[in-house]
């Protein structure tokens, strides 16, 4: 009798541990209001649909602050269960070193290949034919957000293109409104420059620089105009001292600034502030000059832990992140576009619709993270933020140094 009880107890323990709930620590840098609400959707999905627990490991301060923490934890042998990266070249060396979990079996079982749209997203997760990350959203940089109220106050029509916007700058100044909102972090300044480059110099020139690393194009006339325009933008942004991108977005929301060049993640902030696209704010993809969006975005990577239970939980989570329900819930809140073409977002506003149309037309280009190594991106960030904050630095200086960085890029 006693023995049977013991056996029963033992088998109970065994069966219990086979359905072991794993604590999944997920590291990310989604900390602004709209982003935090979106992450909450992911956490809810994991907690409700699986046995596992989402342990939130948010790191404030943006990707430049968060990525070093993540990388040092992974290299140091204390990896989180999952972490957010912008897919592309950022994680390549981690994959080469065998530190990332191979998700190919999940991808095949779930049919990611047929489902992920555009296909370039999955390509960015693929290394030597194996899939290493789960893309969760599409984000594009090429947007300008305008405050309808600010233009109204200055007695102006909301502009349709960058050129019109520049013409309005003086009138906005007279009305006491800062024409362009720009945060102090270097990635914002370099990113805005990239948007202006594709809008004003065209896609061919941008790809020649970023993909083919052709420095002569940087020194050429078309890019020269972009640098000049960027120097003008520097003047337009004077008078607003903010650091984070969402503080700059907030200046547009409150009408102290008229416009901001920022990726579509800014739309989440407008949504949290209860503003309506088309009425309270407007958006110009490609700055109104060119109909194109890049298909960057966020993806989750899963470090190798060597523990089969954690590995199973990681794969379960990867599959869940791409499921239609999670895609709709997450992207509706975050203001980004879903990575699968077969779902409908619950609330599609004007701006999201513009984005979806461009995506459906195939007006897309690879994102900066997919073309430039983090080393080069860091150098360009440093250069552009130095230029932005040094009024005595001329557009020609910046152009020449930009060309030198592109020349030495690997």
């Amino acid at each position: 009798m006693k023995l049977t009880t013991k056996l029963l107890a033992a088998s109970a323990i065994v069966s219990a541990s086979s359905a072991y709930a794993v604590d999944l620590e997920v590291m990310h840098w989604w900390t602004s209001g709209g982003e935090a609400a979106a992450v909450n959707e992911l956490a809810k999905a994991v907690n409700e649909n699986t046995e596992h627990n989402w342990i939130d490991g948010a790191i404030a301060g943006g990707g430049d602050t968060a990525r070093p923490v993540m990388v040092s934890r992974i290299i140091g042998g204390d990896p989180p269960a999952a972490f957010q990266f912008n897919h592309g070249l950022q994680a390549q060396e981690l994959i080469e070193a065998g530190l990332m979990l191979d998700l190919t079996d999940v991808a095949e079982a779930e049919g990611w290949e047929d489902m992920v749209n555009p296909a370039s997203l999955l390509d960015a997760c693929t290394y030597e034919g194996r899939v290493y990350c789960a893309p969760v959203n599409i984000h594009s940089w090429q947007w300008m957000w305008l405050s309808n109220g600010a233009f109204e106050e200055a007695g102006l029509e909301v502009p349709e293109t960058w050129t019109e916007f520049v013409a309005d700058a003086d009138a906005l100044r007279e009305a006491g409104i800062v024409p362009l909102a720009m945060g102090g972090q270097s990635w914002q300044q370099n990113g805005s420059f990239g948007v202006m480059a594709v809008a004003l110099a065209g896609l061919d020139n941008l790809l020649a620089v970023n993909r083919d690393k052709d420095a002569s194009v940087v020194r050429g006339e078309a890019y020269g105009e972009v640098f000049q325009a960027f120097a003008d933008a520097r003047e337009m942004a004077e008078g607003l001292d903010v650091q984070d991108w969402n503080q700059a977005t907030n200046a547009v929301i409150t009408g102290t600034a008229a416009a901001q060049i920022m990726g579509d993640w800014a739309q989440g902030e407008f949504a949290v502030a209860g503003m309506t696209a088309g009425e309270d704010y407007s958006c110009l993809p490609g700055l109104g000059e060119i109909a194109i969006l890049d298909t960057g975005g966020d993806a989750f990577y899963f470090p190798v832990t060597g523990d089969p239970e954690i590995e199973a939980a990681q794969k379960e989570m990867a599959a869940l992140l791409l499921s239609p329900e999670v895609q709709v819930a997450f992207n509706s809140v975050k203001g980004s576009l879903p990575i699968r073409g077969d779902v409908d977002l619950t609330s599609v506003n004007d701006c999201t619709q513009k984005g979806l149309d461009l995506l459906a037309n195939g007006d897309t280009m690879p994102s900066g993270n997919q073309l430039l190594s983090p080393d080069t991106t860091t150098q360009l960030n440093d250069l552009m933020t130095e230029f932005w904050n040094t009024p005595s630095m001329t557009a020609e200086d910046a152009q020449e140094r930009y060309a030198q960085i592109i020349e030495s890029a690997n």
Binding site: D64, E96, G184, P374, T378, T385, W388, N389
Partner: protein, 312 residues
């Protein structure tokens, strides 16, 4: 700290020199054997790690170290990078003012407390309290205090001086002084306590003698007390200098190197290159340069300070 310990022991060794000199290494043999594991740790971790870093600074290591030799390429790139040059200048500026102001303010505060004032304990606690806060908290607090809209500038403007401008964190020319204020606020309390301890160690008879001779208090401090407190000053300088060279978290919390790259510091350059830019080789080259600068300054000074004792 090891250097300071040596200075305390030096006279004792000096006294027993002469007759027993050849046997010196065998004195206290068992305690030396007991220390072996610690010595091994220090040698392997500190020297081993340092040499490894220097060796890999000659490679093109990316996110992970690899032995792909590129000669001095990382150093050439380092010294042609504007951000690195600015980092060095910033550190020199911060170091110079931080060293002087910390010593002066620390000493003056300690001297004032030393006058046997009332509520000394309260004042001491208040002055030392900031030291209990980390640099991250200090940086955030001062970021808010110096915020043009809500901080000092905003408050003064609300009081009626509408043209008052004090916005160091957004002015590339004076941003380092914004950092300096925060650094001093955090660090002077500790130095004050060390100085105060030093002053308390000075014999009361000296004060009595100077009073009998009618020497003013300030003159006693400058001519008698400061020379007597030399070891205390040495300890303070070592503490302050090590704080300066590793200046990093304060910058990250307060300005994150901005505006632009005008408040970058070498340690931040290293971190950014290694993990942000995924370029270990560049980071190693920069940290090797940091080590080199410390060695160049510290070694002659240490020889002068501690090597001279042998003559006496």
């Amino acid at each position: 700290m090891a250097i300071a310990d040596d200075s305390g022991r030096a006279p004792a060794n000096g006294g027993t020199r002469g007759a027993r000199r050849p046997m010196r290494i065998f004195r206290n043999l068992w305690s030396k054997i007991a220390l072996l594991p610690m010595i091994a740790t220090a040698v392997i971790i500190f020297f081993g790690g340092t040499i490894w870093t220097v060796v890999y600074s000659f490679t093109s290591s990316g996110l992970l170290p690899r032995r792909d030799w590129v000669g001095l390429a990382q150093y050439e790139r380092l010294w042609s990078t504007a951000k690195w040059i600015i980092s060095i200048q910033n550190l020199a500026l911060y170091g110079f003012f931080s060293l002087i102001f910390t010593l002066v303010i620390g000493f003056v505060l300690a001297a004032l407390l030393d006058r046997k004032i009332r509520f000394e304990d309260t004042f001491r606690t208040i002055f030392l309290y900031p030291f209990a806060l980390s640099f991250i908290v200090t940086g955030l607090v001062w970021q808010w205090i110096l915020n043009p809209e809500f901080g000092v500038q905003g408050v003064v403007r609300d009081l009626g001086w509408t043209s008052f401008t004090f916005n160091p964190l957004n002015d590339p020319d004076i941003v380092m002084f914004g950092l300096l204020i925060a650094g001093l606020w955090q660090g002077t309390g500790l130095i004050m306590c060390i100085m105060l301890a030093g002053m308390r160690g000075i014999d009361d008879d000296i004060w009595k003698a100077s009073r009998v001779d009618g020497i003013p208090a300030w003159k006693t401090y400058v001519k008698i007390i400061i020379p007597m407190m030399r070891p205390v000053f040495v300890t303070s300088v070592v503490l302050i200098a090590s704080g300066i060279i590793k200046l990093y978290d304060l910058v990250v919390a307060q300005t994150s190197g901005g505006p632009g790259i005008s408040s970058e510091v070498p340690a931040k350059y290293v971190m950014q290159a290694m993990f942000g830019g995924q370029n270990l080789g560049q980071g190693f080259a920069a940290s090797t340069m940091m080590l080199l600068s410390v060695v160049i300054i510290l070694v002659p000074w240490a020889l002068l300070e501690f090597g001279g004792r042998k003559r006496g």
